[in-house]
Subunit: 387 residues, 2 copies
């Protein structure tokens, strides 16, 4: 196994792996680069201009969403039964269906990252790509025929075959309201239906008492079209430069991670268990940690044990935030490769935006109040009736 020195110099976030160049970040970047160059707009199928508002989109759909997602209320509904096909030629026909498509592919405002994509994000993209993507009413054949075919062949089909996309428990059509808490189900969340289907992966958690933002909370706008989990799991051992930790992940945890990432979350609970109570779990690499640091109020206390080279590299990253003075609750949206904050304030739960060192006035919220709010919002699994 290569010990490419680049690994030491690169962003110490976790590494991707494939058969061709197992475990190197270079391979990940290479794969992602070709992937990115051939992306099409997830809304209309035109050649994508970039990753905008949480999805690869063209300039038009980017501008459209940026304009219209603010005034959802005054958007007149579709008169064709909300069944309009959205492609490059028809995207201007029905604004309602176009916006619906935007939301369906995961677009939303806030929490954007301007810098490089995180490795989590790249992995996510490649896995999703290998899964075949959503089989929506996406680009017309007509549209594709009019585009440059030579570009599309750059994409290396099957180059990611090594990714264990089909675990023993393949999980298509997994419910958005999965309950991955084995001990007690909140009445507001879905009943035991999922438990019957996926009990193998949700019944073995040893940390059922830890509150955690449920990424599948009802109405989560960041759930992808496939119901894919928008939040990266907690894998502290990945957020380190310690080679042993990385190889440990690759040999022992990567399959579990991938299985989780494809819809199952056994490791997530275990990772969440490393966090204390009254804390909302967060996992991030140094880039995300920096964004987190600037996004979160200075009153928020957080500990960072790694992976800065000057710190203990062999310690798991811990960016957990004390709920007593925290911005209350947040989670990383690695699918969007951004710090996505769920900030509790007088305006209710809303995505947080970076702010300077002000506002000492909104940290009187008690931990249980914060928790209760998230619970009422369906964002927290009601794992236990603490306090």
């Amino acid at each position: 196994m290569l010990t490419d020195h680049q690994i030491q110099l690169e962003d110490p976030e976790i590494l991707a792996t494939n058969n061709n160049n197992l475990g190197t970040k270079a391979s990940l970047d290479n794969e992602y680069s070709s992937f990115k160059m051939n992306q099409r707009c997830r809304v209309c199928g035109e050649k994508a201009a970039g990753f905008h508002f949480g999805a690869f989109t063209c300039e038009g759909c980017k501008s459209f969403f940026g304009r219209t997602c603010n005034n959802l209320s005054q958007m007149d509904s579709c008169k064709n039964g909300s069944k309009c096909v959205i492609n490059r030629k028809t995207r201007t026909a029905c604004k309602a269906c176009r916006l619906r498509k935007c939301l369906r592919v995961g677009m939303s405002k806030g929490g954007s990252r301007y810098g490089r994509r995180s490795n989590w994000f790249k992995i996510h993209c490649l896995i999703e790509n290998q899964k075949g993507g959503s089989t929506d009413d996406m680009p017309d054949e007509e549209d594709l025929l009019e585009e440059n075919h030579s570009e599309r062949t750059v994409s290396t089909p099957g180059s990611l075959k090594s990714y264990p996309t089909s675990s023993p428990h393949s999980n298509h059509n997994h419910n958005h309201h999965h309950i991955w808490n084995p001990s007690s189900a909140s009445p507001s969340t879905s009943p035991s239906s999922f438990k019957d289907e996926k009990s193998d992966y949700s019944s073995s958690s040893p940390h059922a008492n830890i509150p955690f933002i449920n990424p599948f909370f009802p109405g989560n706008p960041f759930l992808g079209a496939s119901g894919f989990h928008p939040m990266a799991p907690l894998f502290p051992q990945l957020a380190t430069n310690n080679p042993d930790s990385k190889s440990d992940f690759q040999s022992n945890h990567q399959p579990d991670f991938l299985r989780w990432y494809l819809g199952c979350q056994p490791q997530l609970m275990a990772a969440a268990g490393q966090h204390q109570q009254n804390q909302f779990a967060v996992a991030a690499g140094p880039t995300d940690r920096k964004a987190l640091q600037s996004a979160v109020s200075p009153t928020v206390s957080y500990r960072s044990l790694s992976p800065s080279p000057s710190l203990e590299d062999d310690q798991p990253l811990d960016l957990s935030v004390s709920a007593q003075k925290a911005v209350k609750g947040f989670a990383m949206d690695h699918r969007r490769s951004s710090v996505r904050m769920f900030q509790y304030g007088s305006q209710g739960v809303s995505p947080a935006s970076p702010r300077p060192s002000d506002s000492e006035d909104d940290d009187e919220m008690e931990a249980q109040d914060v928790e209760e709010h998230f619970r009422r919002s369906g964002m927290i699994l009601d794992l236990s009736s603490r306090k």
Copy 2:
């Protein structure tokens, strides 16, 4: 039966009749007035602004058609299977479907009348109205609910019950390519399918040898959504001020006319028989005759025996045009209440526009050449192989 003196003073075109005020033009005008005030756009269902391009439409659809009907070719087709519902809210969504709807309700350019509506037109409207109109994907319930209901109640439902809309041979879904010539069917026109269905009304013509512009010619853009005949029939006895002629019509011919107007044409052939060979039949009241006079080249010779008061009121109107020096062929489009000329020139068949006393140079066309052109265009039934 009333002998309202208004009849004498009014336009001497034929009279309409209903139960309430049988046979008076006042009743027709009254009925038509309330009908017109409550018309909705035939395209989108919005309150109609008037009769534009051959159909009652709103301002928007009027402007839209005026803009787009010229560049049909560069109109991109619908991407929803041409099934878009067109109403006030969705009319801007799919231009292709909107234009298709416009054409379907009979809109077209040219041949418009600026003055009063003819009585034929009013009768047409009232009959169509009584028939219930086309049951298209017309105005949404939602749209109608948002409009002023008080206006709509002005319309007197059932006020035209006296019109014999359902003749013994009710004719729904009559084919656009009807053959109403019993003797010989053109190979280019439809086969004997219609004859099987409607032979009662197409087999009794005593004037099978007279060429006549077939209003059902393939591609006739003036055929309404219901396939309704766009051209008014020939009823010379109606174009007179002679009271006897009018009462004769009311008692003897009106039922036949209405039956014809609803899709059968026995009387049409009889009327056409009054015209000489090498002439293309025309029927018109004095208003239409005036328009005809200004539209047709001065080289066209026509005879007008009536109904000017200074002329023989008891003679049937004859505006037939000699094909030798005629603009070649034309017919009245009473449905559009306009003189609709099918003018033969170097540009081919096109709607004629009024022109001054010039152009002595385009009357070299022989009668049979004109006829042949129309026949090739599918506009003339190939009744016989004269010459």
